[in-house]
C-alpha cells in the first residue's frame, strides 16, 4: 500500500530543515520526500488515483518520537499503567517508539520476565515497545544480570534506572561485560550519599519550604565517576538525565575525548523549575528534583548545541494515593507521554529551540542511540510519523489523558501544540477528530 502525505511542513531533523513538501510511504517504509507531491508521484511512476493521499494542510509532519525511559507498570502495578494504556497515551502524544524501563515489581532482570513483557507489549500496544532490562539483579547493584541472554531476548539497553550502582567494582565489571556484548548502559548520574532522602534541589526555595535537599553538585559527581569508568572500560553509555549546568563541562570533555557517551534530559527539567513546586505540589516532585532557572536555561542551551542528545518524557505513572502525601513522603515522577510534545512546543514558541532541533533530540538521536532506522524522514526509514499543529492552544485537563495515572504537573496549564495524527509503519494509530 502506498500513501502520499501531501502539502506538509516536513520537519527533517537530519537535514535541519522544515520546508513544505510531500512524503511518500510504501509498505511501512518511507519511499522518499520532495517539495511537490505530484512531482514525487511522477518520479516513482505512480498515479494519484491509485495511492491514498493525506492532505496535511501545511501542518507539521515529523518523525515519530522515540522515547527512552518510559515506565509501564507491568509486571506488578498494572493499576498505575498497563501496556495498553501506555500505548494509547503514546499514540496520542506522537510517541511511536517507547523504550521501557525495568524498574517494575519485580524488576525486568531475567530473560523470562523480559519475554513476558514483550508478549504483553506486542499484544496490547499500537506503538513499538522496546524493553530495557536491569543492569544488576533486582537493581540492587550487587550482581550483573544475564546481559547476553537478555540481549538475545530483545533488551535494547541496560539500566538500574534511578538506582545508582554504588559499588564501583560491580559497576566497572558490568560495564566491561556490557561492552563485550555491545550493550548500551543507561545510568542515573548522581552521588547517592549526597542525594539520599532529598526531595528538592538545595537553595533558597528548598530552605524556605524546609525540604530535604540535594546539591546540584551531586549530579556532576555522579557523572564524573561514570565518565572515569567509561574511560576505563570503553562501554557504551547514556546518562538518563543531565539537569544541571555544573555537569555540562564534564560531559563536553568526555565527548571531546571520544568516549562513547550520550546524555538525555526530561521534558520537565526543560520546562519547569524548582519554584513550580510552590506550596508543596507533589505532582511537581520528580527525580532528580526540579532545578534552578539558571540550570534550566543552561540545559536548554546544551540541547540546542547538541551537547545533550536526547529529550525524553521520563514518563512515570503514580496513583493518587502515592502523590496525596506530605511532599517528602510523596512518590516521585510524572506522566508525560501525552504532554511531551506540547511541552516541547513551549521551547519552540520561546524561540530557544527550532522544530528540527527538537525532533533531533526527541526522534533522531534516541533512534540512533538505540540503533533504529526510525527517527528520520529519509528513504528506507520506518514510516513512524507524527502530524501536529505547533500552534493550537489548549488548557490541559489531566482527566483527558489516556494514561491510567494522571499525575501531570501540567494540569490546568495553558499549552500550545497538538498532535493531529500518529502513524506507525505507515498506519494511523491515532487521529484527533
Amino acid at each position: 500500500m502506498t500513501t502520499l502525505f501531501d502539502n506538509a511542513r516536513l520537519i527533517d531533523p537530519e537535514a535541519g530543515t522544515e520546508d513544505i513538501g510531500a512524503l511518500l510511504v510504501r509498505d511501512g517504509l518511507i519511499l522518499g520526500t520532495g517539495p511537490d507531491g505530484a512531482a514525487l508521484l511522477a518520479t516513482e511512476g505512480l498515479d494519484r488515483a491509485t495511492v491514498e493521499v493525506v492532505d496535511c494542510r501545511g501542518k507539521c509532519l515529523a518523525p515519530g518520537i522515540v522515547d527512552i525511559g518510559v515506565k509501564v507498570c507491568e509486571p506488578g502495578e498494572r493499576h498505575k499503567e498497563s501496556y495498553r494504556s501506555a500505548g494509547l497515551a503514546a499514540a496520542a502524544g506522537g510517541v511511536t517508539t517507547m523504550a521501557t524501563r525495568p524498574d517494575t515489581m519485580p524488576s525486568i532482570d531475567t530473560p523470562e520476565v523480559l519475554e513476558f513483557v514483550r508478549r504483553r507489549a506486542n499484544a496490547a500496544g499500537p506503538v513499538h515497545v522496546l524493553p530495557m532490562a536491569a543492569l544488576t539483579k533486582g537493581r540492587e547493584g550487587r550482581e550483573m544480570t544475564e546481559i547476553g541472554f537478555l540481549m538475545d531476548a530483545g533488551a535494547v539497553a541496560f539500566t538500574d534506572c534511578d538506582h545508582v550502582v554504588r559499588d564501583t567494582k560491580v559497576f566497572s565489571r558490568a560495564l566491561t561485560y556490557a561492552r563485550s556484548c555491545g550493550a548500551l548502559v543507561i545510568a542515573h548520574p548522581q552521588e547517592p550519599g549526597l542525594s539520599a532522602g532529598a526531595a528538592a534541589t538545595s537553595g533558597k526555595f528548598a530552605s524556605l519550604r524546609g525540604l530535604p535537599a540535594v546539591s546540584p553538585m551531586a549530579e556532576r559527581m555522579g557523572l564524573d565517576r561514570d565518565i572515569a569508568l567509561i574511560e576505563m572500560t570503553g562501554a557504551r553509555y547514556h546518562a538518563d538525565q543531565i539537569t544541571t549546568a555544573r555537569a555540562l563541562p564534564a560531559l563536553e570533555r568526555a565527548k571531546a575525548n571520544g568516549l562513547d557517551i550520550t546524555a538525555g534530559v526530561s521534558i520537565h527539567h526543560l520546562t519547569l523549575n524548582e519554584f513550580d513546586v510552590a506550596d508543596y505540589r507533589t505532582f511537581f516532585k520528580v527525580k532528580p528534583p526540579l532545578r534552578s532557572e539558571d540550570d534550566r536555561q543552561a540545559v536548554i542551551e546544551a540541547v540546542a548545541s547538541g551537547l545533550i542528545d536526547v529529550i525524553c518524557s521520563m514518563h512515570t505513572p503514580q496513583d493518587e494515593e502515592s502523590k496525596r502525601r506530605p511532599f517528602e513522603e510523596a512518590a516521585s515522577g510524572a506522566v508525560a507521554l501525552e504532554t511531551l510534545l506540547p511541552a516541547a512546543m513551549r521551547l519552540y514558541h520561546s524561540g530557544q529551540l527550532s522544530l528540527p532541533q527538537l525532533f533531533r533530540a526527541m526522534s533522531l538521536n534516541p533512534a540512533r542511540r538505540l540503533g533504529l532506522s526510525a527517527g528520520r524522514l529519509t528513504a528506507g526509514a520506518s514510516a513512524d510519523l507524527v502530524l501536529f499543529d505547533p500552534d493550537t492552544p489548549f488548557v490541559l485537563d489531566r482527566y483527558t489523558l489516556h494514561s491510567k495515572s494522571q499525575n501531570t504537573p501540567f494540569d490546568g496549564a495553558r499549552m500550545q501544540g497538538k498532535v493531529l495524527a500518529t502513524y506507525v509503519a505507515g498506519e494511523a494509530v491515532f487521529r484527533r477528530d
Binding site: S207, L208, G210, L211, Y280, R324, R325, P326, E328
Partner: protein, 313 residues
C-alpha cells in the same frame, strides 16, 4: 481590625498589618491572663482539636490552655499512638476528623508541608503548630510579642538567631516575621547547620559568635537536637558549647540591654549557660511561655471570628 485569613499556616502568608493585629489582640489577652478570672467566651460553643503527630508537651499545653480560657471545647489527640500507626494516611485522618465538625484544628507534623496539605482537605480553620523544618508561626508571633513588650518596638532592631538554623522551623518563621517588620537579622552558627541558599534570605550570616553578637538587641538561641550532636553536623557537644553556646563572655559583646530568648526546651550547657537562662535582667524565656498562651488565644479568636462571619454570610 482586619484579619482575613482562613488558616494560620505560616508567617509567609501574613502581611505586616496581620501581624500587628494579632499582637495587639494578644496584648489584651496577656492582661486577661494575669487576672484572677481568666475566662472569656470568645470561642464558646466551638470545638478545638489538637492533633500532634510529633511529641510536644509545651506547645500542646499552651494551645490547650488558650482554647480553654476562651471557652472552647478542647480535645487532644496524640496521633503517634493512634490510627496513623495502623497505616491510615494523613488525608484519611483529616477526613475522619472533618466529619466530627471541629471548628479549629491545631496540627503538628514531622513533614514539611503536611499541615498545608491537611488544610486543603478540611472545612475548619487550621493552625500550624509546627510542620517539619518549614514553619512554626505561633512561635514566631509569641517571640515578636515578647520582643515588642521588652523593647517597646518591633522594628529596626538587630536580632541574632543562633544555632541550628538548618533544621529549625522556629528560625524560618522568625526570619520571615522579623524581616517583614523591617529588622536586621543575623544568623550565627556553624556552616553545617546553615540552610542552603542562605545568602538570598536578606540576612547577615556569621560563623563566629563573638563577631555576630556585636551590639545586637535581641539574642535568640535555638535548641540543638540531640540526634545532631554526635559527629554528623558538629564534632561534639562540648566543642559546640565552647564555640556557639551562649555564656556571659559572648553575651557581653551584645548591646548592654540585649534580651536573651529561647523557644525551649533548653539544653543547659549545650547551647546556653544556665546562669544566663535564669538571669531575670537578661532572659525573657519565661515571658515567651506566657506570651505563647496569649498569642494563641489571639490567633484562634481571629480565625474564629472569620469562621463565624463566613457561616453567617
Amino acid at each position: 481590625m482586619s484579619f482575613s485569613h482562613r488558616h494560620l499556616l505560616g508567617i509567609e502568608h501574613l502581611a505586616p498589618t496581620d501581624i500587628v493585629t494579632i499582637l495587639d489582640l494578644a496584648d489584651t489577652y496577656a492582661e486577661l491572663n494575669r487576672r484572677p478570672n481568666k475566662h472569656s467566651d470568645a470561642l464558646a460553643g466551638l470545638t478545638q482539636i489538637n492533633m500532634f503527630f510529633e511529641n510536644s508537651t509545651r506547645t500542646q499545653a499552651s494551645f490547650e490552655l488558650a482554647g480553654k480560657r476562651l471557652g472552647a471545647d478542647v480535645m487532644n489527640m496524640s496521633m503517634q499512638t493512634s490510627s496513623v500507626k495502623k497505616g491510615e494516611t494523613l488525608i484519611d485522618t483529616a477526613m475522619t476528623l472533618n466529619a466530627m465538625h471541629p471548628d479549629l484544628l491545631v496540627v503538628r507534623h514531622p513533614s514539611s508541608g503536611a499541615v498545608d496539605l491537611l488544610a486543603q482537605k478540611v472545612n475548619c480553620a487550621v493552625l500550624n503548630a509546627g510542620d517539619g523544618k518549614h514553619e512554626h508561626p505561633t512561635q514566631a508571633l509569641l517571640d515578636a510579642l515578647t520582643i515588642r513588650r521588652a523593647k517597646g518596638r518591633l522594628h529596626r532592631l538587630n536580632v541574632a538567631i543562633c544555632g541550628d538554623i538548618a533544621h529549625s522551623r522556629v528560625a524560618r518563621s522568625n526570619i520571615l516575621l522579623l524581616g517583614k517588620m523591617e529588622n536586621r537579622i543575623r544568623l550565627i552558627g556553624p556552616p553545617t547547620l546553615m540552610p542552603s541558599g542562605i545568602g538570598e534570605f536578606g540576612v547577615e550570616v556569621y560563623e563566629d559568635m563573638n563577631e555576630g553578637l556585636k551590639d545586637v538587641d535581641v539574642v535568640m538561641m535555638l535548641r540543638l537536637q540531640k540526634e545532631r550532636m554526635d559527629g554528623g553536623f558538629i564534632p561534639s557537644e562540648r566543642e559546640y558549647y565552647h564555640r556557639y553556646g551562649l555564656d556571659a563572655e559572648k553575651l557581653a559583646k551584645a548591646a548592654p540591654d540585649a534580651i536573651v530568648m529561647h523557644p525551649g526546651p533548653m539544653n543547659r550547657g549545650v547551647e546556653i549557660d544556665g546562669t544566663i537562662a535564669d538571669d531575670i535582667n537578661r532572659s525573657v524565656i519565661q515571658d515567651q511561655v506566657e506570651m505563647g498562651v496569649a498569642v494563641r488565644m489571639a490567633a484562634m479568636d481571629l480565625l474564629a471570628r472569620n469562621l463565624r462571619e463566613r457561616s453567617a454570610a
